[in-house]
């Protein structure tokens, strides 16, 4: 197996950062969502994502073997060290955009995790096994909401279409592979990103049709997150998230 541990650690970081940042965004809604049931559901999603982030980032640290912890990675990296997709760092917008972002991500996340269950790396397979159960539920829920909000009122349809149009350019990045992805695929550790596209297309296509929504024709892919080139939003997320660890270096909490 020619795959360096560094490549596996980087992959785990990408997975973990997606979860951490999306969980952060979701958690911004706590106490502010349109219905009590949504407060509960979104907090639950955020909670799952934080837990997944702990597992993935923990694995990255374990592999690196320099005594770092998931917290070190979460709280002491600046934006250029983050490896999440641009999609998950986009601002919440209205609740419709938040749900749409979750849906577009979940529809990629689940096939990814399902493929990773067969990873030749056991540790990855184990995390994927655990996370996929949670994410299957996320996808079920976000799919259901996209359908109901798309096919709801005229206003809700317009909002969901606007959300979809806004977020669409950030979906392409999920399927773009780089040298690292090639290396991991060759070693049977992770699927080629492009291989996840058909499942995503199918699920998203069917759902949008049911939701009476229309995917944009054009799709110039905004990219950069996987190599640490983010949007202007991530810096603000981190300034907030990392404040205590930065302001009180070395303290235990």
């Amino acid at each position: 197996m020619g795959v360096t541990s560094a490549a596996i650690a980087e992959f785990a970081t990408r997975m973990g950062d997606n979860c951490l940042i999306l969980g952060h965004r979701d958690s911004e809604w706590c106490g502010h969502s349109p219905a009590l049931e949504e407060d509960i559901a979104l907090a639950n999603t955020a909670l799952d994502h934080v837990g997944q982030a702990q597992l993935w980032l923990g694995l990255a640290c374990e592999i690196e073997g320099r005594g770092k912890t998931a917290d070190t990675l979460a709280f002491l990296r600046d934006a250029s060290g983050y490896r999440n997709l641009l999609l998950v760092e986009q601002p919440n917008g209205d609740f419709g955009r938040t749900i749409m972002r979750q849906f577009l991500f979940d529809a990629w996340h689940l096939p990814m995790l399902k493929a990773l269950i067969n990873s030749s790396d056991k540790r990855i397979a184990e995390i994927a096994e655990k996370a996929s159960k949670e994410v299957a539920y996320h996808l079920e829920r976000s799919t259901d909401l996209v359908v109901r909000l798309g096919d709801g009122t005229r206003e809700s349809q317009a909002r969901m279409q606007t959300a979809l149009d806004f977020l669409w350019p950030y979906t392409g990045e999920m399927f773009l592979g780089d040298a690292l992805d090639d290396e991991l695929e060759a070693a049977g550790i992770a699927p080629a990103p492009a291989s996840l596209r058909p499942a995503w297309d199918q699920h998203v296509g069917r759902t949008l049709a049911e939701a009476t929504l229309k995917a944009p024709d054009k799709s110039y892919a905004q990219k950069g997150g996987k190599r640490g080139v983010h949007s202007e939003h991530l810096g603000f997320i981190l300034a907030e998230m990392q404040f205590l660890q930065r302001a009180y270096p070395g303290a235990k909490w």
Binding site: P34, Q54, F95, G152
Partner: protein, 313 residues
């Protein structure tokens, strides 16, 4: 009033009253007010703690805090359901909250300024809440009593988590310890005020006690809270900000100072540090979410409409 007498006898015998059974109108109204106020407190209570979710210092603490705030939303849900069994809808109750007609616990009108406040809320605020709520598990109205059983179990878990946050801070750096002391200084008196003013003379309280929807006097609960909390503060190495606090051997409890009731009534009257923000946040969540709720309703109706003709055909 044989009906009322029979009702009171059942309560005196420790029986539970259930939704469809007869009850005095005043009992129903009092319960609606009490339960909905409690529900609103859970909902508004998400805000001060939610304020630190995005800044929690570790992933573990973030997860715990998220779970806690989620629990509070859940408690709100149980309680709204319990109140609904008395013939008021959740939307009506929201309306009362948003218009300012219904109250929520004044404690949530104080700001959370440091991470230690999250610990202090768990330790003191949840601690005081539990003291109020534990007896309610045995209250006369069935749905309320059962909701309280679930809630109390989770609340005591929350209290331990809050105490744990403070334990770590008090064993941490001098800055962290100072943060903990500062939080205690700010939350101590508002926590004591959570039990309400001295209620010796309150007719209201007497009736609620007769109905078994209130079991202890405010002062008794406050005394119990102080006696429970003082040794915990000692364990943490923190100083309770009350120069009059001392052990009274004779009464077997602590003597302590009088809270600043002027402040209490100012906060009740809307002049607390965060009253406007809390209510504004809730109103905004509700107003901004109108399209969402409307959409779900519209979808459900369309869906039902689509199915009905088919079923009828």
């Amino acid at each position: 009033e044989p009906q009322e007498r029979a009702f009171q006898e059942r309560i005196d015998a420790g029986q539970k009253i259930e939704p469809k059974e007869w009850m005095p109108e005043a009992y129903r109204k009092t319960l609606i007010r009490q339960i909905s106020q409690h529900a609103h407190s859970e909902i508004v209570g998400q805000l001060p703690e939610g304020n630190w979710i995005t800044r929690a210092p570790t992933l573990e603490r973030k997860a715990i805090l998220l779970a806690k705030v989620q629990d509070e939303a859940g408690h709100g849900l149980y309680l709204y359901c319990a109140a609904e069994t008395l013939g008021i809808s959740r939307d009506e109750m929201y309306g009362q909250l948003h218009s300012g007609k219904a109250k929520y616990s004044s404690i949530f009108n104080y700001p959370t300024l440091t991470w230690a406040d999250i610990g202090a809320i768990g330790w003191l605020v949840d601690g005081a809440a539990i003291m109020n709520q534990v007896p309610l598990q045995r209250c006369s109205y069935g749905p309320y009593a059962r909701a309280m059983v679930r809630i109390c179990k989770e609340e005591s878990f929350h209290q331990r988590q809050g105490f744990d946050i403070l334990t770590v801070l008090c064993n941490g750096t001098p800055e962290q310890k100072a943060m903990a002391q500062d939080a205690l200084n700010r939350w101590w008196w508002p926590s004591l005020m959570m039990f309400g003013p001295s209620d010796d003379a309150s007719v209201h309280s007497a009736q609620s006690m007769a109905w078994n929807i209130k079991q202890d006097s405010n002062d008794a609960l406050r005394q119990k809270f102080v006696d429970q909390t003082v040794p915990q503060a000692k364990f943490l190495g923190l100083t309770i900000p009350d120069p009059d606090l001392k052990w009274n051997e004779e009464k077997g409890g602590h003597d302590f100072g009088e809270p600043d009731w002027t402040e209490f009534f100012e906060v009740i009257a809307g002049n607390g540090p965060c009253n406007r923000e809390r209510l504004e946040a809730r109103r905004k969540a509700w107003d901004d979410g109108a399209w969402f709720r409307d959409a779900l309703t519209a979808y459900a109706e369309k869906h039902a409409a689509r199915e009905t003709p088919a079923a009828a055909a």
